[in-house]
Amino acid sequence: MPGEQSREGWANTSLFASLVENFDWVLRGPIDQNMDCEKCQPYANGKPRTHGVDAIFTFTCPYTRRTRAVIVDGKRYTFKSVGGPATIKSWLNDSTKTALHARDSINSLSAQRNLPNDTLIDTVMVVWDCHEGWDQAKSKEWIKGIRLGHTPVPALSVFLSTKEHLGRLQTLSQFRHTVHSLEFLYSPEKMPIWSKTLTPELLHSSILLIRYQKSDSQNKIMGVLYFDTETPSRIRFLVKYLGYAGLLTHDNITIHVQCPQNELEHFENYFSTEFASIENLHGIGISKFKFEKIVRAPFES
């Protein structure tokens, strides 16, 4: 019978799955199922050793056009019970090991989870829902000291998705339900690629360039989802980034800002000041921008 933590981890992973499915992620197989490992030595009786896998998702990567598999490990612990970076490091190392063993067990995994032929297991997400005592500053300190130190080939991206990222995912999901269609912009420096898929990299970025339709009869609206109003230099970056991505040539751009209502006006003023300083470079006016608040949703619901 699963313990309390295991059950909560399952619920956390289920919630995560329900959110990312809005962004073209496909859950492969059931949640919390063991994987037969082809890398580990089998038991003496010939039975294969197994690793617990909370969830495996696949999506088509807008950059590489390949099927990427993400191994998700759901954690639900209070801040106090985690205690320090050693626990987080062990989570990340365990999940990394599982992913590397999954690569070597791709045949049995594909059969078990119905993975597409060209699937590349290149991403691990440790999803930590801290439901009590979250301390952002301290968590940053902890994460700063963690070094994993493997160099697998092909490369592996390991994400620690904390409350901040999960709140962002929930907010994005809510936004997705308020519009008819939503696409994210990738590779702005090259040929722009619009995709409905939200990659883990984009989830961990604070600025997301988007286009969407409010209803099926409307034209596409250019916009930005902006998740960080605390750091002034990020507003400067946003303005430059818009120009860099070629979005400034569009007539109307809506900036969706995740912040409390009383701070939206402050953000708007700050944005205008920053914009004015580089306005001459682009030869356009501030009037094309519209600001809208997006409600920050807590991860738990």
């Binding site: 697998p152 092909p154 994400f159 990738y186």
Partner: protein, 372 residues
Amino acid sequence: MLIESHNNPFPRRSDVETLLEDGSYKEIVSIFAEQGVFLLGRKQIMPDLMTRFAFGEDFYERVFSTLSKATYGISITGLRVSMPSGINLLTFLQEQIESQQPEHKYEPKITQVFEQSKNVLAKIQYTKLNPRFSEYRRRDIYQIEVSASKINEDEVEFRTYPKTSTDSLVARDVIIASLDKINCVPNSMDLEELPVQSRVDLFDQILRGTPGAIWRVDEVCGLTVRAGTPSSGADNDSDVEQSLDESDVRMLQSAILEGKNLRDHKIVQELLNDEFYFSAATFWASKPGVGGSLDQYKVRIEFKKKPQVLVVNVSDSRSPNADNESWEFQDLSPNIGRETIEYFWNEVHLKYTGCRERIAEGARRVRRRETP
């Protein structure tokens, strides 16, 4: 030293590629880790991965300032060469001024040669195309200094204090090309010319230090092992490198402090059985002989493969807190930094020469026994 540069606030793949050539992979990995992103892979993957994130200006400023910061402590590299005893180093190097190497990727040339103290200094300039501005064919111009001095009657040492691996490469190529004109070949300082056991012996001796010496190795904090074959020759090497786990290094460190031989350690034995050898070591060293100072300096000795040179680097310094259980990190003083690397540079040469002499002596003894 970069003497001309250009700035661009937005990272493109080519920007990152250029900067990563000389930047520290570890630094970049740690900046990403602070965002909860752990990128596990080789340096080559970083440009692609880095441009997928929009973290904001402060993030990219940090990345770029870290990558642009070419100095990670102080390094020394160079080569020794047997030259005719009558040669005048000043005249020899002056003759090389403005003689370009047209085939060389970085178009290096010696621009100035002058005497300083007992050394002869040569300034070398080279250019690097900055792909970030390739549409305008912008080039960054770098300058390095190489000093030449006689270390005995017929041996000359050329040494430089490189800021980047390109500095090392260019200095080595320019000096070798100049020596080639007078048919001189640098004395070998190639780890792979030693039998595998002697390569381990060499590091063993370096880490044990010399009794009575003013510098002492206090704590080994990193060892790099390289897979190779027992016979010499780089072509046979499988070029697989791996770092030992922290716990293993700690065990090795205590083995050294207890005066035991590195080769006695089970991991070393296992690695030797698998034809591995050490190619680099990082350790904290102190100078207890002078004034009883407890300050420690982080030194790295590395036999690099590309370019094939020995590099000794000092990157950090620390002194014990009053409780004697923790350390306070300090800015590295350039004077003591130079002194540290010069000491270990000479030490490695001494031990390496000793190793080669013992091997030669062994071979002579075998020949004598075989001769009826």
